[in-house]
Subunit: 347 residues, 4 copies
């Protein structure tokens, strides 16, 4: 059993605590949370681990071999660095940290000290993504043409990150995992309801070397929740609706070749069967925790290692610059919008 | 009764013919279609109007006071110009024509000759857009923050225009109508399945002087048809699902202010009632035809005049340049994608 | 070409007229409609057939070989009888007529006079029912266990029949076609909003010799339209949602064997894939008209002959008695509902 | 604080335990479960209450003032009786017990001994039922005409009760609560997949003195889960879809008066707005537990007392007889189904 300490036990930390406790590979020996109220709650619930106030307290415990970090993003780097330097294996919440420099430092550190560094890209262990990964690996969809992800809802509004850094890592880590390539060009635009830089709506277009185009729509201010991920291939198109309880995945065996005859196609928008495969309904986080244990034991290679976390941060940082540029451009145009004419971006 | 000639009687032209015939303000005296088979069909169906092969034949008929043009886009300018010069009023299909220069010429011509020039932005006469226009006019949604339109399906693939020019005019004319302002900055990206410039998927972001951001997703290669138009306001959010037979419009009285307490909001993504108002189910095209008659008679000011058609073409032309730039950028990056690193657009 | 006369040209009659006109096997030589306004409309639309006021006028035309009857139910028997006696083939709207006696008479008459007698059970020619029929024939669903049909909407309220006789023939003719057996026991209950015998809501349970149970829910006063037909089999379950534009049929490969372990099943309500097969989107009525021609020409055996119409009427008549009994029982109980206790039906 | 003992800690018992523990009015002093494995689990989870093997052990504890019974239906009567005789207040799972006689005995006993007897009709404390109850009380729907409930899914299959007794109490207790009257006539039919008396599908029609008709469709063998409850009123119709996460209730302001003109109504199935009111998303079981405490303290009159449990059992028992009769009838008809003719039920 790996002796593990949990740093941060809020909403997601509680889920981690439950899954770590249920996993036979781990023994939770310490839990840190800055809130006294929260620690008192954990005590009443019969948590047997030592309850501490600070991350440093956990990291300082010599018997602890691994830490799991579920604190606000701004603290990820510092706690992960200390833990790695203290000789612990680390599983850190997404996004790995708030800048590419820091992400690179953590990866180097983990490599130098020969410790496991993992980022909790939970979705990779959902039945849906596992099935998608399997299908793409088998070539079931044909050559991938495009991805289209929509992840919008109404709040909660994070205080320390904007919607790009909050929701973006989900789709970006999934795309990284299933495509196995990095984007070479990113376009982005966003909207700040409050006028601050804290984007509420973000649109990204990612262009990949293979020619694939991926579009991501993230939002915090939609009264209708949407979790939709489309993968268009030359043979089939897959639609993943994560809010569907019974048919999360649908595979359309539609042919997308241009048709000769316009009129016949008018009333028939799909030309093949639709299949909704059965997928596993296990809890993804249980898979993440099990994976962390196996990677530490050297039984598995990690599918969510520091490198993957770094690649996600790289896209986030680039996209953030794009958002800033786009907003700056619009502001400058508003300054002299004489005649109200359209200007081509970049010209 | 206005003596009217119809130029082009394919899929949409047939709908125009039926609505012109049913309208008491018009008498259809001639129909032109290049296809002999099509003319024979019209004859068998008992069409009483004169059946001609060419647009010129219709335009040359002195008794004709108005023409309706439902031919491929590339011919719009030429037929409209001839008709205006021949002293006819003109209703032309969307998009008005394929370049801003030509659009401007038609507008000037109509003004100089004192003829009515209208563009068939049919959606403006749907019950849904009429209700949306009414609500925004009354301030029911509060201050508009963002628009988000998705218009994707599987074919039909047009031969003479890409998906931007085929589907784009719908959303652009609606936005022009309900917002009453023109975008000052446009970002765009697209995907060409075939490698040609004939885009199959297009993403546009429009920035308006008022701060509104509008995003449009157009596509021809989605096996699932989507017609979704969201208007987010400070007071309410409206979702228009044009494929719903019974509840096309839904108005969410959700508050989008950031919340203090993250946890309580987690399980409750909307915070108010949802209303689906009854809307008219009349045929929009009947409204367009009636409007054309009333504008000719001087009884109504046009809501889809040449200027509105021109504004739509201006956005299309700008967006087209954006698409070309985006594609060129990606191609140049692919040429030297050494290291596979992301490059910021515009840098 | 079979010279055909159409009797009744209202809503459904117009569809018949269009399909008869488009079919190469028929020449429509006469159309009768009691309404002068309607006849004037048909004239304006360029209908070339002779326009008459009465059914008798059509039946009296010696050159007519076949008639299609689309008039109110109460007139079906009389017009069909006259037409058969006049030596015409007959296609009559559903339900065939309003009593079993009359249905039997028509069947005998057609047999004696060697004329084709067909009932327009249109749904049998939809792509959905054709696919269902094929699947059941191939044993794809396993042994059929139950059918469950819901057909409810808001109006239109017929004046001459109740909801049982108006909507019931659809599901009853489909069940007759796909099961190939007749029910041996029928239970029914209904609701009359107005207090008259004109039922607005009807529930039927049909028990078949093979053990199959079929339940039908018909209604005129539901604001939400539902068209749902479920076929539960030992191997698979099929759900037909006729209002879905893109996935009318879904086949669930769920196993319905009781499970050992309750808890594992709790969160997983289906245990297999879901398939939505592509089905034909042709117009069903075109198939009916084509079928009528082929049966007259002796090229096909009828799948909707007088016998099938008679079987549907037999169920309707039995069900009507059941409804009456059920209502009578409730009324008598209301008379002396002392103590407000439940009474078992039939005791 | 009321000292409470929980008898049975399986799936639902765990939920009760959590809610009792969270409620300030209760102190859970003992939990009984027959399974040693389950007791070991509870121990590991840090449950502080005394863990016992038998219900008798809990009932025998003198300090216990109230017991909550969440065991199989067959044991409800015995445990509730013992607890009441032991002077405890009782909250028992639905259905209250398996016969009307026993239900009456429990009600008498509770009255004689002046103890609280409550049945856990959990749905009465959902936001949906609370809103429905409020609306009907205010007359918002007009005069109620009909109820239509569908509650079907795929398993879990209970071993000790059929689908009528398992799922039926939910809809029956809701109807009892919102209508405030008892049915005077019940019709029922069912289907036994296995041929045993353990019904898998049940259809009930309930007739009420006021003229209301209620139909209930219960099933265990549907691969598609449905939770749908419709209330048709003279002014509005309410549709409750309990599986919808965002719009559980919809109120259709449709008018159900027969229309003069058939054709105009054809394409317009609803004639008014649709409203989806915000409803509370609290956990219903927390409300039940709070209610139990307040009833014990004399602060509230019970809305789910022994009488309401008894009324539900009365309907269940009557319906069960109806099912048996219906099945017997079908079996006898199969014995001599000469000619395969339909027989009218009851004749």
């Amino acid at each position: 059993m790996i002796k593990v300490g949990l740093i941060g036990c809020g909403y997601w930390g509680s889920n981690l605590l439950r899954n770590l406790s249920n996993n036979l590979g781990f023994e939770v020996v310490a839990v840190a949370d800055a809130s006294e109220t929260r620690r008192a709650e954990l005590c009443r619930q019969g948590v047997l681990a030592r309850l501490l106030e600070t991350a440093e307290g956990v990291i300082a415990m010599p018997e602890i071999e691994a830490v799991v970090i579920a604190t606000p993003v701004a603290t990820h780097y510092e706690f992960a660095r200390q833990a790695l330097e203290g000789g612990k294996h680390v599983l850190v919440e997404k996004p790995m940290c708030e800048s590419l420099d820091r992400a690179e430092h953590l990866v180097q550190l983990a490599k130098a000290l020969n410790r496991v560094l993992m980022v909790d890209h939970t979705f990779l262990f959902t039945g849906a993504v596992q099935e998608i990964h399997r299908m793409i690996g088998h070539g079931d969809l044909g050559r991938i043409a495009y991805l289209d992800a929509v992840r919008v809802n109404l709040g909660p509004f994070e205080r320390d990150v904007n919607v790009l850094w909050d929701l973006g890592p989900h789709d970006l880590s999934i795309m990284d995992h299933i495509l196995g390539e990095e984007p070479i060009h990113i376009q982005g635009s966003g909207y700040c309801q409050t006028g601050s830089c804290q984007a509420d709506i973000v649109y990204l277009t990612l262009h990949y070397p293979s020619g694939i185009i991926a579009h991501i729509n993230l939002g915090w201010i939609s009264p209708v929740k949407v979790r939709r991920f489309v993968i268009g291939g030359s043979a089939k198109t897959l639609v993943w609706d994560d809010l569907s309880t019974q048919e999360k995945l649908r595979i359309y065996s539609a042919c997308t070749k241009p048709q000769q005859d316009r009129n016949t196609l008018m009333s028939e928008y799909r030309t093949g069967d639709v299949l909704s495969p059965r997928i596993s309904t296990h809890e993804a986080l249980a898979g993440v925790v099990e994976h962390f244990a196996k990677v530490i034991f050297g039984q598995e290679a990690s599918i969510m290692d520091g490198q993957s976390g770094l690649r996600v941060v790289r896209v986030l940082e680039t996209a953030q610059k794009e958002l800033a540029q786009s907003l700056a451009k619009v502001r400058s145009l508003k300054g002299d919008n004489s005649g109200n004419r359209i200007r081509v971006a970049g010209s």
